[in-house]
Amino acid sequence: MTWDWGAVADFMPRFWDGLLLTLQILALGSLISFALGLVWALLMRTPTRWVRWPVGVVTEFIRNTPLLVQLFFFFYVLPEWGLTWSALTTGICAIGLHYSTYTMQVYRAGIEAVPAGQWEAATALNLPVRRTWTVVILPQAIRRVVPALGNYVIAMLKDTPILMTITVLEMLGEARLFAQENFQFTEPLTVIGVAFIFIAYPASLLVRALERRLVR
């Protein structure tokens, strides 16, 4: 086994490009999944069965099928429907949609964890539904679910390499391109593997610290 530091040095400029793109995907994907997950969670609490049922089926379906296949689905099928999105946009939306079905569960748990007395107090004060949600329930629910959402951000980080398969040059995409041009696989793949550990491990420590502070 030979380790070539020169290859590492050559790879570094591209590594930073890939890292930057990975972090952009992560940021936008997280935003989409946080927002959409909340929408799903609220829809699942509407009294109408005709809203709850389709939302339940669709999210369950998304959660139980591979992100990779969903990514291909959107990448190849959207153009057939006349929507020409760039690979990056498609990828970010697919990741955001996939993880929104997970964050939905988190929000649901958070909302259910709000004590019943809070609901009753809101009713007693004659607060309208909208204000009950925005002022009483959601602030308490979201505070408690922040650590769990953080866990999904880390999970999402580790799923970003999948976007390589639809030609997005994030970290793994850059590493593979470099490897194929220079016939050096060991160095770029190891560098990005280590990079993932260096991001994911401190992040999970941070989430644990948050968990201790926010959830008693």
């Binding site: 139980n64 990779l68 291909f72 190849y76 748990a109």
Partner: protein, 249 residues
């Protein structure tokens, strides 16, 4: 779709199922080995097991697959058959998540049970085998069930390496027909059906194991409703219900 293309899809399903079963076995072995090692009394054993878990949970499954396929042959001269390479990469990665489940479940067994084992002067291994594991294993089933679904979804990743699994056959069919909507809809449905069957099977298994222990069977599914699904490090119980599934703590 013609019958020839369906045959391709069937072959893909067969490869996916094989890969799923094999890597689940590897992952289970790793999970129990590493998970029990994390409760060992020697700090060096605990440290090594923890190190393993963090490394494999920290990197992405896809990077591990790339590493096993490309770096292993070049760096060590081990060229694995694609099926075994995929099994190894998936088994080691998901085994690391499973190890956290095993550790969480072992820790959630009532301390009095452990002390009882000590009082009866059982050896540590007897204590593990006769007292702790029989009580911890039923608790592990729901999080393991989630992990199994994650593993099923992870098997699609090996298609990137040209292994002829379901996702790969879908791509071939797409190229043959020049039409994507139909085949990808079918493939998503097939994955969903497999996942559904797995969930059902695991629920049955849980019922069986809990019945053997005389624990209320209906209790866990209700709790599970309130727990977010696991994925990756997201396997933590969201709201302090860090019981058997508390993988991130």
């Amino acid at each position: 779709m013609t019958s020839g293309l369906w045959e391709l899809v069937l072959q893909g399903i067969w490869i996916t199922v094989q890969l799923l079963v094999l890597s689940a076995l590897v992952a289970a072995a790793v999970a129990f080995g590493v998970g029990m090692a994390r409760t060992h009394r020697l700090w060096i054993v605990r440290f090594l097991a923890g190190f393993y878990t963090e490394v494999f949970r920290g990197t992405s499954a896809l990077i591990m697959i790339f590493w096993v396929f490309f770096v292993l042959p070049i760096a060590f001269g081990w060229q694995l058959v694609p099926l075994w390479a995929g099994t190894l990469a998936l088994g080691l990665t998901y085994g690391a998540y499973g190890a956290e489940i095993v550790r969480g479940a072992l820790n959630s067994v009532d301390p009095a049970q452990r002390e009882g084992g000590i009082a009866l002067s059982f050896t540590p291994w007897q204590r593990m085998r006769l007292v702790l594991l029989p009580q911890a294993v039923p608790e592990m089933i729901p999080p393991f069930s989630n992990l199994l679904i994650e593993l099923l979804k992870g098997t699609a990743l090996v298609s990137v390496m040209g292994m002829g699994d379901l996702a790969f056959s879908a791509n071939l069919v797409r190229l043959a027909l020049q039409e994507s909507t139909e085949i990808y809809t079918y493939v998503l449905l097939i994955y969903f059906v497999i996942a559904f069957l797995l969930t059902r099977g695991m629920r049955g298994l849980e019922r069986k194991l809990k019945a053997g222990l005389g624990k209320p069977v209906g209790s866990t599914p209700d709790q599970e409703l309130h727990r977010p699904e696991t994925t990756g490090v997201g396997a933590a119980g969201a709201l302090g219900d860090v019981g058997a599934g508390g993988a991130s703590s």
